[in-house]
Symmetry: C2
Subunit: 348 residues, 2 copies
DNA sequence: ATGAAAGCGCTAACAA
DNA sequence: TTGTTAGCGCTTTCAT
């Protein structure tokens, strides 16, 4: 006497075939919109009904093994906790889902395995492509993907050699906006808290700062100190160095908002007021920057759009292996708030 | 003359077997730490070397098809853009990677497909388990997972029937902390901006508020208005209703930080100062809440730990199908900052 | 301790 | 238009 199956086995395409009285391959064709036209309309309909009735759920895994496409894309983030990556990730998943891809997220943040280990894990899952938000200017991971022939694009940060497509903000222009704004307010001695020079954002924003200073009609004094990381603590530390080295500055341009918030901390600690004593400009315009005190003037980057663009580049690359490599550069704009003001007359 | 393969075919276990001069199954045993002991030590070593030399990368997909385990876990978020979910996600991935799982993230935020569609997509990828951060008190998705026999746990929000394990904060206690603090400061007329009652956090925090009011020795007046969503805009709108209905209140307890920030907006718009005219308490203690003006007094939830706990519950459930269903409740604590103060004497 | 062989669920080339 | 067949890369009985 056959015992009734207590453990429910998942419904396969074969079960559907049996119920519909056709062969499994016919079911496969009927169920896949791309091949449905190969099946007689009414038959396809009855197959669909059978599948529905059984509660059939396709198995991507098995399909992937056969087709060589997993419909999985890996996203490697430097640190999920950093608020700028949430909208980037959101933009990426939003675009990818339109083409049927799901997103595996790997966080290379503190306490995580090495980025290389994470990358190998993603590749082991046979992702169809990768978005790296972690890229340094000279990035070994990119080479690894290229070797393995896995489509890859970069987001937010680019590498020095443009081996793969990237979606980034125009970092130099962003700094120009910041410096122009400060000079327009009357500032003549401006400091920069640079990001890590190993990251494109760190280097390009520093270069952008220097270029913007040079390009002014007015001669300016400028100073800069590099932060060791994009964090509030590193920002406070670098701001301290900057203020010690150049106490005459009347404004600080930070390479990112977290650094700017660190600068707030440093100013407060020294009894300096913002913007009365020192103006501060950030970069990224993260969520809530309008609510901090003083509200932060910042270079706004459309992170969500940037994520979408990166995903778009990847989709194109996954569709055609020979898709051209290119860099999509989004134009930032300055959002002026309360952290910048004209220097006091006696400071001039 | 055989042409050299221009397109690099991925290295399979067979290639390794050939190079090592053994059968594929031996390679499989040698490469898997769990079965390595079945293979002679020196042979295993030489197989490992062969794999290394060829740059062999295992194919989880093929293994999954065979073993029925994908090493993939799905995480369904209500809205990646909401800052509380970043640390939760971080905690989840951190714990799961310890057991070799990768995380597929699906965002049910604005503009996304329906949660049901996303869930089916995750199931199609044959995830070994699911973490739902989206649960309503009466959630159809949970039932769907149960039907499909997919291990599932909830995080941050619980459902009314405790069908599955969940990691949450003790929402009622959180509100007690908030109310006790305000009463201790001398407040006697307190308003609550509640979250959506369809969410456990919304309902339990409301109940917690009411219970905390009742439990005071001093008789109090209390009022509440529900926000339609956990957003700054909805918070401003609900705060407006609250102030209109009960202008005599001296303090507002919001069901979450975004609602509290919305209350800030509403107060500012009406020319009311915080904390001089009205004290405000938030809930969650999101990143940056120490920097908004005024710095927000808030009920701190350890979101990262909560994510880890949820992942832990899921791992246990995935290991043993009969693992007990339970609720892990983290104890919140109050972080007092500048948004709360004693009411002015004439307000008493 | 190792090899042989079957098969996970699906798709695609080929046949009819 | 539909069925037949083979096989994606791996793991796991079973046999040796």
């Amino acid at each position: 006497m056959p015992r009734s199956p207590s453990k429910t086995r998942p419904i396969t395409i074969k079960d559907v075939a049996q119920l519909a009285g056709v062969h499994a391959s016919t079911v496969s064709r009927a169920l896949n919109p791309a091949t449905r036209s190969m099946v007689a309309q009414d038959l396809a309909a009855s197959i669909l009904r059978a599948a529905q009735k059984l509660g059939y759920q396709p198995d991507h895994l098995a399909a992937s093994l056969r087709t060589g496409r997993s419909l999985l894309v890996g996203v490697l983030l430097p640190d999920i906790a950093n608020p700028v990556f949430a909208p980037i990730l959101s933009g990426i998943t939003e675009r990818l889902i339109e083409d049927g891809y799901s997103t595996i997220v790997a966080d290379a943040g503190p306490g995580a395995p090495s980025a290389t280990t994470l990358l190998d894990g993603l590749i082991a899952h046979r992702v169809d492509g990768l978005v790296l938000a972690t890229a340094t200017r000279d990035d070994a991971l990119v080479g690894r993907c290229l070797e393995r022939n896995v489509p890859v694009v970069l987001v937010n940060r680019a590498e020095a050699q443009a081996r793969v497509s990237a979606a980034v903000s125009d970092d130099m222009r962003g700094m120009q906006l910041a410096v122009d704004h400060l000079v327009g307010l009357g500032h003549r001695r401006i400091g920069h808290i640079a990001g890590p020079p190993t990251l494109s954002t760190g280097l390009l924003r520093l270069r952008g700062f220097e270029a913007a200073i040079r390009d002014q009609d007015t001669p300016l004094e400028s100073f800069s100190q590099s932060a060791t990381a994009y964090s509030r603590e590193a920002g406070a530390e670098a701001a301290g160095r900057l203020l010690a080295a150049a106490p005459q500055i009347t404004a600080i341009v930070a390479a990112n908002d977290l650094l700017a918030l660190g600068a707030y901390d440093a100013l407060r600690e020294r009894g300096l007021r913002c913007p009365e004593d020192i103006s501060v400009v950030g970069h990224n315009d993260m969520p809530l920057m309008d609510l901090v005190a003083p509200a932060l003037t910042s270079v706004r980057i459309e992170h969500r759009a940037m994520g979408r663009e990166a995903a778009e580049l990847l989709v194109q690359r996954m569709r055609r292996a020979d898709a051209s490599t290119r860099m999509v550069m989004l134009t930032p704009r300055l959002v002026v708030r309360g952290s910048t003001a004209a220097p006091r007359p006696e400071q001039r």
